[in-house]
Symmetry: C2
Subunit: 140 residues, 2 copies
DNA sequence: CGCGGATTTGGAGTTACTCTAAGTCAAGCG
DNA sequence: CGCTTGACTTAGAGTAACTCCAAATCCGCG
């Protein structure tokens, strides 16, 4: 069992945001401590936190995530709809990942370029080859 | 030369956002058409758009991006500071990329699991192995 | 010359945090 | 036992980055 603070550190998310998510109904099973009513996260609850993080990664709206979680709570008759949601989101995420990979590569090229400049060894122009790649990548 | 709308399609960013960025001073060299004052993007300007996208990817604040761009405009005496900014951001981006890769993998596991459920072939539990990986990944 | 379509602007609205303030509770210590 | 410290609670204000809307302007075509 974990406090908000512990989950915050473990999952790399602010305690504020965890409470906010809980208030929005994104953690349907988080219980409370007897005395002060402090949130108590179980190991299973960590799975919910991680699921929300996976969905949020690609800027899926909280309202849509809440809809998914409500479906989970409802039971087995919602499995088909949940499947569609996850499949769609997985596709979006995979595309975003490709774009992110390109951009990280670009940043690394930029680092190399500047490093060469500072060393006085006049690095090669990093723009042209990347530019072409970029246009190809975005022409879909 | 491109209009806001064309750049929007090419770079996969909304026309609204492009104007917003320009108003915030993130595109220092975008010129305007003679009559109506419409924005005119050159090929070089596309590089600025892409640079902003690379930085924004990891939620770098617009104010910080503007600072970097102001440094670029200032000239060669700011190269050392620009190098530090890009190096730092590149590191952040690379770490984020790793996290994103984990999460995309998780979503794909989830898709497989649901697909097996729907096919009636009762897929294996996807949580435990991923859970361990997650804890290892986030324990740094 | 007038109309459609795209652009401009300023400003209002929205989402998802992010923080502040005021209060509650439990543990440790003289 | 009472006090302090620190982590928790809530409601609500504030912020960043869009996101959209309304009204005005401009360009090309019939």
């Amino acid at each position: 069992m974990y406090t908000v603070q512990q989950v915050s550190k473990m999952m790399n998310i602010s305690a504020h945001t965890l409470r906010y998510y809980d208030n929005e109904g994104l953690f349907p099973f988080v219980s409370r401590s007897a005395g002060s009513g402090a949130r108590v996260f179980s190991d299973d609850d960590l799975q919910w936190v991680y699921t929300v993080q996976c969905f949020r990664m690609t800027d899926m709206p909280l309202a849509d995530i809440k809809h998914y979680i409500d479906l989970c709570v409802k039971g087995d008759e919602t499995i088909a709809e949940r499947y569609e949601i996850i499949k769609k989101q997985s596709g979006i995420a995979s595309k975003e990942l490709d774009i992110m990979q390109e951009r990280v590569k670009m940043l690394e090229k930029k680092v190399d370029y500047y490093k060469a400049l500072l060393d006085g060894t006049e690095g090669e122009d990093y723009w042209n080859p990347i530019y072409l790649k970029l246009m190809r990548c975005l022409a879909d």
